[in-house]
């Protein structure tokens, strides 16, 4: 069953158009990775799905309903959870308070303080710290944990690894299987192709605001994805 379906979405900021006729389908329980160069429109795409940005044209359907006209608040309550670029934690609140606020979606599900602390001992360890005083990796872990606290059906992860040491990123990615164990659907943006191929069920390549290639991770080659990434004309094999 499809959880998310975008149909010919045009979106952007003011006069600047960042997405052109984007169509995308994500099945329930699937992990889709978005790949593309900086400025290709991946973040814009996630923001459009989360409702932070409303599209100029086209439609966004989630869990069988048209949510195009719904604001981000309503979409969050329906179960779309975005871990935004730059983490955007509540700096003056403690880690635990950040997580508690994350539960404001009012959704029930497997995630609560206990299960999150179980999944991420690092976060548990820092629960009384102010979020502003955490390292980048800790902040990213808390940002993911905060989104999980809302028990989303669809988790959108925007450049989780941005600015983090590889070993820290490894630790974050290590929690992905547990996050998906309950059937959570995930769409993530990742720059590292090796990592992308390791975790993704399907891969979609974004180039200059258009989706130029999609396919099951097992059926795409690195060369195909690289070609789509840079927009070089044809696939080298």
């Amino acid at each position: 069953m499809n959880l998310l379906h975008l149909d010919s979405v045009d979106a952007g900021y003011g006069d600047f158009q960042a997405l052109f006729g984007v169509g995308l389908t994500v099945a329930e329980g699937e992990l889709l990775a978005l790949v593309g160069a900086n400025g290709a429109g991946k973040t814009t795409l996630l923001r459009t799905i989360a409702g932070e940005l409303s599209p100029f044209r086209g439609s966004v359907c989630f869990a069988g309903g048209d949510v195009t006209a719904l604001p981000d608040v309503r979409r969050a309550r329906l179960g779309i959870g975005l871990v935004p670029e730059g983490r955007r934690l509540f700096g003056s609140l403690t880690v635990e308070e950040n997580l508690q606020v994350g539960a404001a979606t009012g959704r029930s599900g497997p995630w609560n303080l206990a299960t999150i602390y179980d999944l991420m001992p690092l976060v548990a360890d820092r629960r009384d710290r102010k979020a502003a005083h955490l390292s980048g990796g800790e902040q990213q872990a808390v940002a993911i944990a905060r989104a999980l606290m809302g028990n989303p059906r669809l988790l959108l992860l925007d450049e989780v690894s941005l600015g983090l040491a590889p070993v820290v990123v490894d630790r974050l990615y290590a929690s992905l299987p547990d996050i998906r164990a309950n059937g959570m659907t995930v769409v993530l943006v990742e720059q590292d192709l090796t990592r992308t191929f390791e975790v993704a069920d399907r891969i979609a390549c974004v180039l200059e605001g258009r989706i130029v290639l999609t396919g099951a991770a097992g059926e795409l080659t690195r060369d195909q994805v690289t070609a789509a990434y840079f927009g070089t004309s044809e696939v080298v094999s």
């Binding site: 989360a50 608040v73 606020v101 539960a103 404001a104």
Partner: protein, 290 residues
């Protein structure tokens, strides 16, 4: 003993300033709105109470409740109809709106009630006092107002730091766009904030009116200054700072009055200026906040 007395009276006076300022601090903290009409809303709260007692025979103690509820409701309307829209227009638009309110309120009050004071007497309670020593007495009513403001500030603190909605309010203050991503409508938080701010300032205005024995339309121009000075002296974002700021301002005014009857206001302003010069973040401020 005169000086000790001045000190004690100042502390008691500070309670009202602190209660009046807490809402100003809250609105600024959550929405970055400097509410220039805060003093006039305080006076409006006093008017609601005084008018209830004078024209409708409402028992005096109940007028405080009526006034708090009425201005809380007004706060909801003001936020939804004026400030939410103003915030969408631009950063300085809400400031202009509150300035407009600060012009409208006293003039409307003058139209309705004239410039003469509307009385709000509290009978024997107004003069009852506890003698602590020769020349040193604490009035029951000033003591009551201090206790009430400690209650209000403690209540606010518990709300902000011990409840989920309080946490959400602080999160909204940190980042109003990100709370939306976790299902929180920031405008509802704003509405609640303004309801609390206007409810508390109405209570402060009612107690102020009771203390003065009545209220006139343009006193808000002075009380808004006191509220701003209290917040700045205490330090933004700290409720205990607000209490300390109110007490500091109260003591300054009361000691100033002891020096000379025409000094209290000046003394308050001087303390405010000194704090601005030597400790701009305020007594309890945490330096530059993000």
């Amino acid at each position: 003993m005169n000086w000790v007395n001045a000190l004690v009276q100042g502390i008691l006076l500070g309670g009202i300033f602190a209660m009046a300022a807490s809402g100003l601090s809250l609105m600024f903290g959550v929405m970055r709105i400097a509410n220039l009409a805060h003093g006039d809303l305080m006076i409006l709260g006093g008017y609601v109470a005084a008018a209830c007692a004078t024209y409708f025979g409402v028992p005096v103690w109940l007028t405080a409740v009526v006034s708090t509820v009425a201005l809380g409701a007004l706060g909801f309307a003001v936020q939804r109809l004026l400030l939410d829209r103003a915030m969408r227009v631009g950063e300085f638009t809400p400031l202009m709106v509150t300035f407009g309110l600060s012009v409208i309120i006293p003039n409307a009050l003058t139209q309705m009630f004239s410039n003469d004071a509307v009385p709000l007497g509290i009978g024997a309670l107004g003069t009852a006092s506890i003698d602590l020593a020769p020349g040193l007495a604490i009035g029951w009513f000033p003591l009551l107002t201090l206790v009430a403001s400690v209650f209000v500030l403690t209540g606010l603190h518990l709300f902000l730091y011990r409840t989920q909605y309080g946490r959400i309010t602080r999160a909204t203050s940190d980042d109003s766009r990100t709370v939306r991503l976790i299902g929180v409508d920031n405008r509802r938080v704003y509405a609640l904030t303004t309801v609390i701010a206007l409810g508390t300032v109405a209570l402060a205005g009612t107690l102020y009116t009771m203390r003065q024995g009545g209220v006139t339309p343009f006193e808000g121009q002075l009380t808004v200054l006191f509220a701003f000075e209290t917040v700045i002296i205490g330090g933004l974002g700290s409720l205990w700072g607000t209490l300390a700021g109110g007490v500091a301002l109260g003591i300054a005014q009361s000691v100033g009055a002891q020096l000379s009857p025409d000094l209290p206001l000046l003394a308050g302003h001087v303390v405010f200026l000194l704090v601005l010069v030597f400790r701009p973040q305020g007594l309890f401020g945490k330096g530059v906040t993000a």
